[in-house]
Symmetry: C2
């Protein structure tokens, strides 16, 4: 549609980066909007007066940043993506995966986050949201009572509960942080569920916490949260003392 978009020809440095920067700037400035399709690689190749490889590398970079989405075939090409919460979370998740964290630090952070979120959820969350949260918590608890629950479904449900709670703050930043955390730790959290006692108490705690939230009783909710994390810490100590510490706990890497 718009041939008015000006691309300066490129000569210096890493050409692909220049191209990527120019396109990124165009997107950030809103000159190209989400849903728009930018010219085909062969056209861009002409616009920028460069080779197709350069264009491809630039597009690859933008795709990595989740700025664009690339489709094959006719009418394919690079489409500007919509902004999503999860988008930003991925890199944080990657970061978390690489940096082995002390589980205690993680727990401490999560507890503080949970407390804040819970308080906000109580004061801001809609009635229906609280009811839905409670319902889901009850489902989780029921599932956890079973002798041989499906770990994957379980982890997913736990994840959903956390995110739902974060969403109830009606503050996207908390939702974003929570999503990132879930993304980063989802794989390791599963292992925890294997402890039977942990399962049982976790289920109860979720239910109790959700109940307290539904009843608008912040102190009771916080109390349950504290209990939950205290238990987690205790469990962690037990695990660490048995395995003699050559592992990194929650975020540790497991051998294949």
């Amino acid at each position: 549609m718009k041939s008015t978009i000006q691309f300066a020809p490129v000569t210096m440095g890493r050409a692909s980066e220049e191209v990527a920067l120019q396109i990124e700037a165009a997107i950030l400035d809103g000159k190209i909007e989400p849903g728009d399709r930018l010219p085909s690689e062969r056209e861009l190749q002409l616009h920028f007066n460069t080779s197709r490889g350069v264009i491809r590398e630039a597009l690859q970079a933008l795709k990595q940043k989740s700025l664009i989405e690339i489709k094959k075939g006719a009418k394919g090409g690079a489409y500007v993506r919509e902004v999503e919460v999860s988008t930003a979370g991925e890199s944080l998740a990657l970061f978390i995966k690489r940096q082995p964290l002390d589980p205690q630090h993680l727990i401490e952070f999560r507890e503080s986050l949970d407390r804040t979120i819970t308080l906000l959820a109580i004061s801001r969350g809609a009635e229906e949201e609280k009811i839905e949260l409670l319902a889901k918590a009850k489902i989780l608890e029921t599932m956890l009572r079973q002798s041989d629950p499906d770990m994957v479904v379980l982890a997913e449900l736990d994840r959903e509960l956390n995110i739902m709670l974060a969403r109830m703050t009606h503050n996207p930043i908390f939702e974003w942080i929570m999503q990132a955390l879930q993304l980063g730790f989802s794989s390791s959290d599963v292992t925890l569920y294997q402890g039977e006692q942990y399962r049982k108490e976790t289920g109860e705690n979720w239910k109790n916490t959700a109940q307290a939230i539904a009843d608008n009783e912040p102190l009771r909710a916080l109390s349950h949260i504290s209990y939950h994390y205290a238990m987690l810490l205790k469990l962690l100590d037990a695990v660490e003392s048995t395995t003699d510490g050559n592992q990194k706990g929650l975020t540790g890497k497991r051998k294949d």
Copy 2:
């Protein structure tokens, strides 16, 4: 050093993604460590039994994720990068640029974070750290009293204070989050300092808060923090009412 690293040849789907995934996995599993250099593009081309373009696109993706760093010339190549905090911050910055956040949400998040961090800093921070924090806070306050302070230096000092406080929790997660936030919002924070009243009160508040921390008086510290953010909100309201709301406040984009 280790030629034992096995790369499976690639045939299906988007080859470059496959390559990227395999290398990423190798890095994440610790099979290749930070500082290590992976084979040259031409060698990888053979390992993966693919074209050089594919390899280049894969490397480009990993570079974008800040997993590797690419150098030219002899002894050049792709080197596995050290993990850095700023890495995670960049995507947050991008996220914020595209999705202007409601300043109130931002303030809310920062306040909750500050409160948690402050409490932890009081209980965990070493004496010297507290003294240093107080010293820096006093410097900031002094600078802010001047009629024509250097905004850039000021913002930098403010940033340092925040990060130092976060570091005093002795929990790297808080430090990371704070760094990411500083990275993401640094540009917009500067504008705030232009309000004279804000400057003055902010300086005093930092000094008071640091003093309270040094004195191990959590409640007093929290009180100052609350006051600070309350003032920020008030100021924000004023700004928004005057500009008639066509801007996004803290995170809004400014015209060139």
